[in-house]
């Protein structure tokens, strides 16, 4: 097995996942995206096993000269709106196609965060990251398979933005240095005032706070860990097929965040979630008549 670290190599990852030479940057159907907006996000169409897909990736090498906080894969205002726009464009172009023919969206994830600056807050970074998530959710619900592949960093709000709205989420295994977390364990240690050694010990039993794709796997937040870079393409292709089958079967909650909730229970990682929702349903059933 070759361990080839992919952190910071979003563009390389696109080439490794899609058919050779098939990626057309900034092109989605008949729409051409300007190349001077949101350089931290790489978008375009490509093919996987001959089937058209739309790719959205992070470029950790790019600097956004207009927004100095955007480099290293950060998703800034422009990046998030550009990503959202690509999704809406895809939905619109495929509106008349039946489920099964709508183009899959493939998200290649390597991002450390959302733009954290003063300008970003004044103009509302929360809207930018929110709009991309709503767009992905709409694509997923309207029948586009959405597959995320974490190749490097998938950190906190940026992972929510670019990844967690997908139908299925894949991640290179921890040997590749893949990082999925809200905060590193050192920060958790500072906040909880517990030794790192003790926290690491505890995380073996309970995956809810520890950093790493294997813990998200246990919680149902990652569907499958990919062990070799050579496997990225076939695994993505297989998940497109699986997700499409679920959509054709008509079960919208089998994939996506709600599906990942169910998976988290099956894997023993999130055991309270369903109990809480069911309790609310039970209690409401006994008073519902008063509200009708």
């Amino acid at each position: 097995m070759t361990v080839e670290v992919m952190i910071g190599r979003g563009r390389d990852a696109i080439d490794m996942v899609v058919d050779p030479g098939s990626f057309h940057e900034n092109q989605v159907g008949d729409v051409t995206f300007p190349d001077d907006i949101g350089p931290g996000a790489v978008v375009g169409e490509a093919a996987i096993d001959g089937r058209d897909v739309v790719v959205i990736a992070n470029d950790a090498q790019a600097f956004n000269d207009k927004f100095p906080v955007v480099y290293f894969g950060v998703i800034g205002l422009e990046e998030a709106y550009k990503m959202a726009k690509v999704v809406y464009t895809t939905i619109k172009q495929d509106a008349d196609k039946p489920v099964g023919e709508k183009r899959p969206l493939v998200l290649i994830v390597d991002t450390p965060g959302n733009g954290p600056g003063k300008i970003e807050e004044i103009f509302g970074m929360n809207k930018a990251t929110g709009s991309y998530q709503l767009a992905l959710a709409e694509a997923r619900k309207s029948g586009h398979p959405v597959i995320a592949l974490v190749i490097g960093r998938a950190i906190s709000g940026a992972f929510l933005c670019h990844g967690l709205q997908a139908d299925h989420i894949l991640s290179l295994s921890p040997e590749f240095g893949t990082m999925i977390h809200v905060m590193p364990i050192t920060s958790i240690s500072r906040i909880t005032k517990m030794d790192i050694e003790r926290l690491e010990e505890l995380s073996k039993e309970n995956p809810v706070f520890a950093a790493g794709p294997q813990f998200f796997y246990q919680l149902g937040g990652v569907d499958e860990l990919v062990e070799n870079v050579e496997d990225m393409r076939p695994v993505v292709a297989r998940h497109i097929t699986e997700v499409e089958a679920a959509k054709l079967a008509g079960d919208g909650d089998a994939t996506g965040p709600m599906g990942h909730g169910t998976l988290g229970e099956e894997r023993g990682g999130r055991m309270m979630r369903r109990k809480v929702i069911e309790r609310m349903e039970d209690e409401f059933a006994s008073v519902a008549q008063r509200y009708l």
Binding site: E78, G124, N126, K127, M183, F216, L219, R279
Partner: protein, 316 residues
């Protein structure tokens, strides 16, 4: 239980999550669901030696506004900053699930009265986002809530109320942005990256989190109102929030959703244009933006009462 009428006069800013849940719906109509008696507290906090709360910092239930069944989510900032863990997040999702079931039921049982009986989800935010002690579960719960907001579109409104001490930050900042309507008080604060985190990541020169007036200028209710990121700005009482909710629910659904700031290609175009404008404008402070949109005496704006401000405010 506190008397509803005296609750209405109470400050929204200082009210507990349960008081807000009771006070934002009509008198005597609130029923708590999965309340403290159920003891559905976090299974993850005890392991870390952290105190638990039986409602996990999230009061959920149902009430009425007129004939509208309103599913309430109310976050408690005093409990771990209102942060979202597995149970807290599941309660949020549960409220959406119930609202959707109710919507389907009303459509079936009262097809002619769907408009006047249209349900809603109302979220009274007080949170910094993900709870770090169970961060991974909290993060995944955020994604579920976003999914549920999208699922509600085209059916019933989702309304945000922001005016509590902790404000609404982190992942919950974009959850609020994704809802149909945002109601804030002057004291409400909304953002993605909290002031302390900006300072930590960018330095005190970029953002001094101890500068309260700077924090309010950047994230506060008046700024968000000027930017049209908040649709309504109200006085800081539970009664004013309740009245605004009543006015919103009186409007037809098609009118309500015009309050959205994101959630369609057209709105993304509009926001992207605003992001480009931010480059051109290069403001040093939110005041520069207020002036750009035609407000005079921008130094006076933070000092104005809500009524004075609403009388003169020029919005984007």
């Amino acid at each position: 239980m506190s008397d509803w009428k005296s609750l209405e006069a109470k400050s929204f800013y200082g009210a507990s999550a349960r008081e807000r849940a009771i006070g934002i719906v009509d008198e005597g109509t609130f029923t708590e669901l999965a309340g403290p008696q159920n003891r559905m507290s976090s299974p993850h906090l005890p392991v870390l030696g952290e105190a638990v709360e039986w409602d996990d910092g999230c009061v959920t239930g149902v009430g009425l506004i007129g004939k509208h069944p309103v599913f309430v989510i109310s976050q408690e900032g005093r409990f771990i900053g209102g942060a979202v863990g597995e149970v807290h997040g599941a309660k949020m999702v549960g409220a959406f699930v119930l609202a959707r079931q109710m919507y389907d039921r009303i459509k079936e049982e009262h097809p002619d009265e769907l408009a006047e009986r249209l349900p809603a989800v109302v979220i009274s935010f007080e949170t910094g986002g993900v709870r770090l002690h169970e961060a991974n579960a909290g993060l995944l719960a955020h994604a579920e809530v976003m999914d549920q907001i999208q699922e509600s579109k085209g059916k019933f409104p989702v309304i945000s109320l922001i005016g509590s001490k902790v404000g609404c930050f982190g992942g919950m900042g974009f959850v609020a942005a994704a809802t149909d309507v945002i109601v804030m008080s002057d004291l409400g604060r909304l953002g993605l990256t909290g002031p302390e985190v900006i300072e930590q990541e960018m330095g005190k020169d970029e953002f001094d989190s101890a500068d309260r007036s700077l924090v309010y200028r950047t994230t506060g209710g008046k700024h968000k109102y000027i930017m049209r990121d908040a649709n309504y700005l109200v006085e800081d009482t539970l009664g004013d929030f309740h009245d605004q909710l009543t006015a919103i629910m009186d409007a037809p659904y098609d009118e309500i959703v015009k309050c959205r700031r994101i959630g369609s290609e057209e709105l993304v175009d509009e926001q992207l244009a605003l992001a480009e404008l931010s480059v051109e404008m290069a403001p040093k402070d939110a005041r520069d933006v207020w002036a750009y949109f035609g407000n005079e005496d921008v130094d006076q704006i933070p000092e104005m009462t809500t009524a004075e401000f609403l009388a003169v405010a020029k919005r984007r």
